[in-house]
Symmetry: C2
């Protein structure tokens, strides 16, 4: 479902240029559960933004579901992204003036889901991440880990077939983190393709395959032995 060929992303100009991603080839099959690990600054989030159609590569080709993403205009790209891809951002990116419930409803509003169904589903997703008691809170009334969980609930809103999660347990204690991993495993068993960036070995162990990045390149690609 995802094919990246020689993907490169360069920031900046002249001598200050930084190749955040430097020639990555990666194929992810439909229904696969992949974890991406690597040092801070090794290009993981940059790569994820390209996969999620939030950024375009400087060079290389990206085919999503067999279609060359470079050939889609911005509107077609936004459509593909909105309905098929769920994204959990490393920095959450919640809207500060909306409640937790409204933040989770937002992708459904774009997808044209009616008000009552929307609120019911948003409330179910928040329940799934343990936030039933926080639905009317706004982001600045939530703890770090609660905001992270609202971001996770929001990514599930349109029941996307591809879920991209950038360090979804970084702000969670081990118990809440384990609950999120169990949730991801269930979503995977239901048939979704999941790409997960994580710094934690225990979280990565639940994926079927782990890819290691270093300085913008893939340096290791291992299937879990008992997968």
């Amino acid at each position: 479902v995802i094919r990246l060929e020689q993907i490169t992303k360069v920031f900046g100009e002249g001598t200050a240029q930084i190749a955040a991603v430097a020639g990555v080839d990666l194929e992810v099959r439909r229904g696969e559960f992949l974890a991406i690990m690597g040092p801070s600054g090794s290009g993981k989030s940059t790569l994820m933004n390209i996969i999620g159609c939030l950024d375009r590569p400087t060079a290389g080709r990206y085919c999503l579901d067999g279609r060359d993403v470079a050939k889609l205009d911005d509107d077609a790209l936004a459509d593909a992204r909105r309905l098929a891809i769920g994204f959990v951002f490393q920095t959450f990116n919640l809207l500060p003036r909306l409640t937790a419930l409204q933040n989770v409803e937002l992708p459904m509003i774009y997808a044209g889901v009616g008000g009552r169904a929307r609120r019911k589903r948003a409330s179910d997703f928040l329940g799934m991440v343990g936030l039933a008691g926080r639905v009317t809170h706004r982001p600045n009334q939530l703890s770090g880990g609660e905001r992270q969980r609202v971001a996770i609930a929001r990514s599930l809103a349109n029941e996307p077939s591809l879920l991209l999660a950038d360090e979804p347990t970084g702000n969670l204690d081990s118990k809440s983190g384990a609950e999120i991993v169990t949730l991801l495993e269930r979503l995977h068993t239901d048939g979704r393709t999941i790409v997960l960036i994580t710094h934690e070995q225990d979280v990565a162990q639940h994926a079927e395959r782990i890819v290691h990045l270093r300085d913008g390149r893939i340096v290791d690609d291992t299937a879990r032995l008992d997968a």
Copy 2:
């Protein structure tokens, strides 16, 4: 140096009231290295904000260096905070229009440090957290872990005697995280008092004492056996 007596912090009104911190007694001695752990939403950041004089308790008494903080007006509080306390925020709170170097310089500007000394020290602190190559980047040109490390460098700017760090390794891979823990240990050996909120057992193990929070209360307080 820190004495909290029956500290309580309640948010909201009426039936929607939440006691984020519910009657905490805690003493931290000068030069101690304390870790605070607990589930997401258990009140750790709220407690830290009170210790750092960024928030006032709803009830209870907080004495910092023997002085009742409630008796200080906002200006005196800001002074105490600015010079003696270094704070690493869970959500970094960097200024988006300033470079990494300028963000680290900021507390020194408030402390009246001259331009050349400031830039040299800011650059040294950024070097200590492995960001010598990123000093001119602005926050949106930095990875999540790089922003976290700028926040750590900034907290050291005025060489504070009390360092409060809210999950400083949440966005770091194990190697960068270990480097930060080594840095904290060194700062502690130099005589600083350190209070660290963390979700990671390996990080907490480097403190001399671990306090566990649950639902706004202290449920465990253990000195490390070999400390």
